[in-house]
């Protein structure tokens, strides 16, 4: 990437450009610059926070920009905690938070735009089709280390955990009332895709990821299986109707009261006009 860029720079300096090219380049710069100026005068929204929500909010932002000419929506990631901190310190107009808010965070203005569910995934070749909450807890704390004990093959279990600071980890620990110190992990991963790749390559692994991502991959030929929780199947439908136990709201937070532009954006994100975008990201829109 870098070398090809260097090469192209070297190339362009070695050859003299014909005049029309220079002219076009100059015009391009002038036009872009004037457009930027026009935007700056109209209004800009800075949105930071959860990496789970960032791709969705970026898509919503694009549609919002198209419908409100002159506005610009700048989406940055950094995790739910950053979203909260930035909204509180006014570093961002809106924060994205992909977990339930803590009581001390209730002072912020908040609006749920969609739901996301977390589920456990196994390799398709693993004969285990269901695990109780107690069994999952025992596997993650190292009390059960062989699939034989939960009705599977005689093989050691590979436990996949998430890295510190991820809201998926926080939600998982909270649901199973565990602390990260109790978990006996064999692999610690960063994002959902890395977890799915690890399960794909190891038939004896167990991990937890967003249902949206997992269902997308499972329906696109990746050999993984989503486990039900408390007999409730892990599907977009059960997350949508709120019956799936391990799910989380995706919330936009801002200082109360939000600015006019922020308020317009939040209402737009909650409207049916963006449901197709939410579904495309494998989240579950509001009813």
């Amino acid at each position: 990437m870098k070398t090809s860029l260097l090469k192209s720079i070297a190339y362009s300096t070695n050859h003299q450009l014909p005049t029309p090219v220079w002219l076009a380049g100059f015009l391009f710069i002038v036009i872009t610059f004037s457009q930027t100026l026009a935007m700056a005068t109209q209004g800009k929204l800075v949105i930071t926070g959860s990496s789970t929500m960032a791709p969705l909010v970026a898509e919503i932002g694009k549609r919002f920009e198209a419908q409100h000419p002159g506005t610009r929506v700048d989406v940055q990631t950094g995790g739910s905690s950053r979203g909260l901190a930035d909204a509180m310190n006014s570093l961002a107009d809106i924060g994205m938070v992909s977990r339930a808010l803590k009581p001390q965070e209730h002072a912020l203005h908040r609006a749920i735009i969609a739901h996301d569910g977390i589920t456990l995934i196994l390799h398709q070749d693993n004969p285990v089709h269901e695990l109780t909450n107690e069994q999952i807890k025992a596997i993650y704390t190292g009390a059960i280390t062989n699939w034989k004990r939960v009705g599977g093959l005689d093989a050691p279990i590979t436990v996949i955990n998430k890295a510190e600071g991820r809201s998926t980890l926080e939600l998982f620990l909270q649901y199973f009332s565990l602390t990260n110190r109790q978990i006996q992990a064999h692999v610690v991963i960063g994002d959902n895709e890395q977890g799915i790749k690890t399960v794909e390559g190891n038939p004896h692994a167990i991990g937890y990821v967003s249902i949206g991502t997992a269902q997308y991959d499972a329906t696109h030929g990746v050999p993984i299986r989503l486990l039900p929780l408390q007999h409730i199947p892990a599907t977009l439908e059960t997350v949508r109707n709120g019956t799936f136990p391990l799910s989380r709201p995706l919330t936009l937070v801002s200082k109360a009261p939000p600015t006019e532009l922020a308020q317009t954006f939040i209402e737009f994100s909650q409207s049916p006009a963006v449901h197709d975008l939410i579904l495309k990201q494998y989240f579950v829109p509001l009813p």
Partner: protein, 295 residues
């Protein structure tokens, strides 16, 4: 009159201009490093103030959400992964360089050399992906869970192998032909010449290659993050998952706040210290070798 414009000893304005601009550029290059160290120190200062240096070596474990920040197992992970890969890649790299230079017939040596050069240009994330989908499942079938110190060592070895090979090759090419001719005239065999004449002469260059390899292994992040498992523990076998300092930063920086974030900068600082200690050790060794050679 003798014109002085061709006199290189004269102090001309253009010379002085060149001298000062070179000094200025050197200053920029040098101060960049100093600035980076200062930045690291500045960012990690809160951790030293609120947590203290002792905690990094005496806490119960690495649990940032519980304000526990033990870095020792991560340091061990980094050291073992680097040592293991260099022990594997150095003999392989040096011997393949010797093979290309003195044993392989030209029609084999040239493509082989191109292959090594190609290997050097492959981005680390590609090695990481290969490790994750090919190497790790292979190890998992043999000794579960799969992501492990061994996987890290193997991937790192493949990555630093071309560096060591190419630098060694370059230093072999600089050995004066007269030395080799003299040795041949004395009736020494090919292996004896390589062992007694060529390798000792090229020692400094080979050393530089190993040094560059270690530096790359220490700093490698993406591939290591994908194949090592990232569990914070001091490995007791080759099949235990480990976490390195670089992986620690890459894995948690995006989501870290406050003391946690600051401690990740401490990880970076420790990495810097490790590199500096290594450079000093390498320099010391090289000096000793040089003196031993002159005696």
């Amino acid at each position: 009159m003798i014109s002085s414009s061709n006199n290189i000893l004269s102090h001309f304005h253009s010379d002085r201009f060149l001298l000062w601009s070179l000094r200025f550029l050197a200053l920029i290059a040098g101060s960049l490093l100093v600035l980076i160290v200062l930045f690291l120190l500045h960012e990690s200062l809160p951790a030293f103030q609120h947590i203290g240096l002792r905690s990094f070596f005496a806490d119960e474990g690495w649990y940032p959400s519980e304000e526990l920040y033990l870095l020792t197992p991560i340091l061990w992970g980094t050291i073992w992964a680097t040592l293991g890969s260099i022990m594997l890649a150095a003999p392989l790299g040096i011997s393949s360089a010797v093979c290309i230079q003195y044993y392989a017939p030209p029609f084999l040596a040239k493509p082989y050399r191109r292959l090594v050069e190609l290997l050097a240009g492959i981005p680390s994330v590609v090695f990481g992906l290969w490790g994750l989908v090919v190497l790790v499942p292979l190890i998992a079938r043999w000794q579960p869970p799969g992501p492990s110190l061994l996987a890290g060592i193997l991937v790192l070895s493949v990555m630093i192998l071309p560096t060591i090979t190419l630098v060694t090759l370059a230093s072999l090419a600089h050995i004066p032909a007269s030395s080799i001719h003299s040795a041949t005239a004395l009736g020494l065999g090919r292996w004896s010449i390589i062992q007694r004449v060529i390798l000792p002469t090229a020692k400094a260059g080979i050393f530089t290659g190993i040094f560059l390899g270690v530096a790359r292994a220490l700093g490698e992040t993406m591939a290591i993050l994908m194949v090592c498992g990232n569990v914070v523990q001091a490995p007791s076998t080759l099949f235990d998952p480990i976490r390195t300092l670089t992986a620690n930063i890459a894995l948690e920086m995006a989501y870290a706040l406050g003391n946690h974030r600051s401690t990740l900068f401490v990880s970076g600082l420790f990495l810097m210290v490790m590199v500096v200690v290594f450079v000093i050790m390498a320099e010391g060794l090289r000096h000793r070798e040089a003196h031993a050679g002159s005696r």
